[in-house]
């Protein structure tokens, strides 16, 4: 699996007279984890949905370093776990196979269940699992097809701090080497997991992609560098929102 870089150039989105963002340009480096932050309503979710092909932009282009389209090479994690309540965990993990008429790979599902620590829960329905377990199942579903690009829209926001910290570490380990874009409101999460940060400002402000983090994620919560980066990021967010 070779993860491509994604180049975004002059991306714009407007609804009638209302400009959500305009002329936004940045690059998601190949095989790196990038977090997108910004105040509520600046268009973070719209931006990631455009990149995932779920809505069209008003202007601009999105290309990849290998020239192939993003569609078909993308795994998506939404704000909730999005496990289908009528399917078992096993069938949820192999959802893409069911939706595209392929046979599910039982061995792969078993391996993923084991990787995310859900052995013995494969035949349960999502309702029988806790929030943290459901999010781990969603992570296994994201990994099932081994896609090189992963886009996540605040996937851990509904979890308690302890569970969130554990799942962040698990996600960082399992999504290693993929091109990942994570939308988050949590500066700690962003600094812990990312190689680079993007801060989206309101309509005229564009995007700030200057914050590159050193070292390999996931960083320990008490890492001195993480705390320093977090302070920097907070200042960046305040400036973007000014």
């Amino acid at each position: 699996m070779k993860s491509p870089a994604i180049h975004v150039k002059d991306l714009g989105l407007r609804f009638g007279e209302h400009v959500v963002f305009d002329k936004v340009s940045f690059t998601l480096p190949a095989g790196k984890w990038v977090s997108l932050l910004g105040a509520s309503g600046v268009g973070k979710t719209s931006l990631i949905r455009i990149l995932a092909g779920l809505m069209p932009p008003t202007s601009g282009t999105i290309t990849t370093s290998d020239g192939k389209p993003i569609a078909g090479r993308l795994a998506w994690m939404g704000q909730k776990d999005l496990l289908y309540p009528w399917l078992t965990i096993r069938n949820n993990i192999a959802l893409s196979a069911r939706l595209t008429g392929r046979r599910s790979d039982h061995q792969r599902v078993d391996a993923l269940l084991s990787q995310v620590g859900l052995e013995g829960y494969g035949d349960q329905r999502p309702a029988a699992l806790s929030g943290g377990m459901r999010q781990r199942a969603a992570l296994a579903r994201t990994l099932y097809d081994d896609k090189p690009i992963v886009m996540m829209d605040e996937p851990f926001s509904a979890l308690d701090t302890i569970t969130r910290t554990r799942i962040q570490a698990l996600a960082a380990e399992l999504l290693h080497d993929r091109t990942v874009l994570l939308v988050t409101h949590d500066p700690m999460e962003a600094c812990r997991l990312s190689h680079q940060l993007l801060v989206l400002a309101s309509a005229s402000g564009g995007i700030d992609d200057s914050h590159v983090l050193e070292g390999a994620p996931p960083r320990a919560p008490n890492d001195h560098y993480l705390l320093h980066s977090q302070a920097q990021l907070l200042q960046q967010l305040v400036r973007a929102n000014a």
């Binding site: 092909g53 795994a75 309702a127």
Partner: protein
Amino acid sequence: MNRQAALRGIIVFIGLLLVWWLITFMGIPDFLLPSPAATAKALWTQRAYLAWNSLTTASEIVCGLVLGVALGMAVALLMISSPRLQRWLMPLVLTSQAIPVFAIAPLLVLWLGFGMSAKVMMAVLIIFFPVTSSFFDGLRRTNRDYLDLARTMGASQGAQLRHVRLMAALPALGSGLRMAAAVAPIGAIIGEWVGSSAGLGYVMLNANARMQSDVCFAALFILVLMTVLLWVTMDMLLRRLINWSEEH
């Protein structure tokens, strides 16, 4: 249905019987309000006649239910598959509800004759709206995030409909089916009242004309029992089928 619900049903049934029995002690003549005992006697003495006519009504209800549910689901699926079709079909769905069934019943008997078809059609007409509207509503309200996830996985429109929308709409369809099970007998009975030679509606009309209130009440009792049984069966079936839903 759990044991508590069954017990509640039995208590309500016994309570109603008790109230009915007490009212008959207020000096109301038998031809106006027969006692539970007189009704039970009519049920026993006329059992063959009532059984045969119950069978006719039951067949009409079941046929109407199957056809009405199939038609309602098909129309809802057509409406969700194309916004243009939805714009054309929605007035038709609303019209089916706006026409008073009592007004259309004589016409249906005129067009389809005194046989079973007019009664089945009446049941279909009465079932069609709750099934179509509840199922369409369920299909339309499918969580957008579920559909987004399916789209990122490359699911075709057909696969999205089959694996996501249809499944997500089952609890809403369940509500429509429960309502259909409760109202289907009304359609069949109205059809029988307007023109028939068999069925519980026919029995009621005949008994009424001959002042045989006990037979009329016996037929009514069977009809209520039939409706309750139909609803309970439907409810149990749906609970088993949609056991993953919080709403089931």
